[in-house]
């Protein structure tokens, strides 16, 4: 069998590119971070929003000179919110010798990555990779599954549950739990129950529902059920379409109760809910645009204004700003991007956020400890979200001390 000559030429050209590519990259003057998130599929909007926030953060960091005189650069991979796809992406990350891999969406994806990174780093001590978790929240990831190679720069479900439960009004007596049936939703349900029993034993759980992730189109039957239960509040960890459709169906059916969410501030929900949701949706978050006004913080207001010139949705990832501040300091301290050295430098690191609160990267479980805000979506705020005319208004706030919870992590550390 003979190949046409043109095929051979193309093959040789591709081979040349393939051989030359990685070598050229290694000599690059940038610090590359493999970034795996859903950029297509049901939660593409979330991945896209997250990417925009990181690009914004990295532009700011690079303008200040990056780290070791090198600029940061994101190499993106689409995982479609599927652990299997994320593992394929991780393979590309390690094949390209990238020192860092980052992923924000889907605790099931995070869990799969932790396992895979552990195995990879054990087998390839000369080509290790450090996992930066920017939003996979299941508490298990820094407890049972905790790993030396995994750093979580976002509050665990447990930490959010503290703010969520403490902020519930004293008059509230009955709640209905509705969560997505996968690692994250189960984590939310368990921790919500745990802290309800601890802080608010007077509150009765009148319903406990699990729904298949991103499968339900019409939430009306669930609303009927919630209505029949007589609950005064719907407590949910849903995000994306699962949250938007749920609250929309509730508002349409005239279900006049509190909608107490964990992730209502994540992109899409405010638009879907619309004006009818005024003063009903609450959420637990790291930051929202109106804190700058409430706390008279000029530095944040400047940041918010800069962000809003080019974006419609609110900036919700102050923890990711902290993540990059810490990463820059760690890389500068050890003078390289070697994953082991950077990991050791990150352990126990303290970093002031733009409100002056000292965030801590706890050494025991590699969990970032940061304060939380509980806020309600309502009209009449200086900065609205997603052009809805409604903005977040703080109702409750926790401190780093409140959020410092015991961990069950027994970490296996590398011998070096």
């Amino acid at each position: 069998m003979r190949f046409p000559r043109s095929f051979v030429r193309i093959f040789l050209a591709l081979l040349a590119v393939a051989l030359w590519g990685p070598g050229a990259r290694a000599a690059d003057a940038t610090i590359k971070i493999g970034y795996i998130d859903p950029f297509s599929g049901a939660f593409a909007a979330g991945g896209d929003a997250s990417l925009k926030m990181f690009q914004f953060i990295i532009e700011n960091i690079n303008a200040k000179g990056g780290a070791l005189g090198k600029k940061f650069e994101l190499v993106t991979f689409d995982d479609k919110l599927q652990p299997a796809e994320a593992l394929i992406a991780l393979k590309s990350v390690t094949d390209q010798n990238l020192p860092f891999v980052m992923s924000c969406v889907g605790s099931n994806v995070g869990s799969a990555l932790i396992d895979a990174v552990n195995k990879h780093n054990t087998r390839n001590p000369d080509n290790r990779v450090l996992q930066l978790n920017c939003g996979q929240l299941a508490t298990e990831l820094t407890n049972e599954q905790c790993s030396f190679w995994h750093f979580r720069f976002a509050g665990s479900v447990e930490m959010r549950a503290v703010a969520r439960i403490k902020s519930l009004p004293a008059s509230l007596k009955t709640v209905y739990l509705l969560n997505q049936d996968y690692l994250f939703g189960q984590s939310i349900r368990d921790d919500t129950k745990k802290f309800l029993a601890l802080y608010r034993p007077d509150i009765k759980i009148v319903g406990d529902e699990m729904i298949p992730l991103m499968q339900v189109k019409d939430f009306s039957p669930y609303i009927t059920k919630i209505k029949a239960s007589g609950a005064e509040s719907l407590l949910t960890g849903n995000y994306g379409p699962d949250l938007a459709l749920l609250i929309k169906a509730g508002v349409d059916a005239g279900l006049n109760i509190r909608y107490d969410s964990y992730l209502g501030h994540v992109i899409g929900a405010p638009t879907a809910i619309g004006a009818a949701g005024d003063g009903r949706l609450t959420s637990v978050m790291e930051i929202h645009d109106n804190i700058s006004v409430e706390e008279n913080n000029a530095a944040q207001e400047e940041f918010v204004k800069q962000w809003r010139t080019t974006h419609d949705f609110g900036f919700i990832a102050i923890n990711s700003v902290t993540q990059f501040d810490m990463l820059v300091r760690a890389i500068e301290k050890v003078g390289s991007t070697d994953p082991l050295k950077v990991a050791l430098a990150l352990e126990g690191m303290e970093q002031k956020d733009m409100f002056g609160a000292v965030n801590i990267m706890r050494k025991d479980d590699h969990q970032l400890l940061n304060p939380y805000y509980e806020a309600v979506l309502t009209k009449g705020q200086k900065y609205d979200v997603e052009k809805t005319g409604m903005g977040w208004k703080t109702e409750f706030k926790t401190t780093v001390a409140d959020e410092t919870l015991p961990t069950t992590c027994t970490m296996k550390r590398p011998e070096s």
């Binding site: 049901a42 909007a45 298949p212 499968q215 189109k217 009306s220 039957p221 009927t224 005239g254 638009t271």
Partner: protein, 315 residues
Amino acid sequence: MQVGLISLLDGLVYGMLLFMLASGLTLILSMMGVLNFAHASVYMLGAYFAYQIDQWVGFWPALVIAPVLCGSIGAAIEVWGLRRVHHNGHIAELLFTFGLVFIIGRGVQMIWGMLPMAYRVPAGLDFPLFSLYGENFPAYRGFMLLVSGGMLFTTWLLLKKTRIGLIIQASLTHPGMVSALGHNVPLVFTTVFAGGSFLAGLAGVIAGNYLTTESAMADAMGPIVFVVVIFGGLGSLAGCFTASILMGMVQTFSVVFDYSFADALKPLGVTLAANDLLGEILTIPMSRIGPLVPYALLILILLFRPRGLMGTRET
């Protein structure tokens, strides 16, 4: 009881919505033998068009213009796309519509972005029609029922009582004979494809603001519509209708149904705990797996009655 009555209405609305989508697909599938993967994408286009027209001139013009636009796009797809790949066989046609899904999906994201659109129910229909045991039944849902019911009636009238309908029905079973009698069969195909796309677009217009208009809405609706079509059976609009309503009811009632298989076994004297053999699966309440029930039904019908509920021929 009160939950039952409200759920009945919920199921009916959802079932009729499914029918609007599935009826177009079943017509195309049974006539042309093409499983049009892009059908749900046209539904999404309908919603985005409606949003855009709603922004410019209002909801009522959108209700007419958006489906017509979708119908024209359908006709264009058939004339310049499907007809060309037709002689390469069904696989080529299948792959062609499969490719369209990605192109339309990406196109929508590039034009309108990834955020959900603020496509709202028109102010004139934004009030509770009546209240049942304290739960409102929005007027817009009544409107949806009205539109889908009207559509069902019109389609039936068109197929059964007009000359065009007669030719379409004949082309369904004997395309060669119809062609030999001097009818323009390709034109009939184009008409059917455009008509199916029109219906999908109409479904998009009225569902886009009831659910949400976002770039993932096609992916969300696509699989369940296929289930309806296969379940209902090829070449049968009545089967499609029955299947749609059934699926709507099944999904709605499985949510309010807090029982598991283990509960069903209890009267037989069998008690299961979560740690028994198969216990973990059998003790999951129905409400937790509700949205997956239609797919289970699909498998059952393919096993025991491959032609579907009222299908006139094997799939």
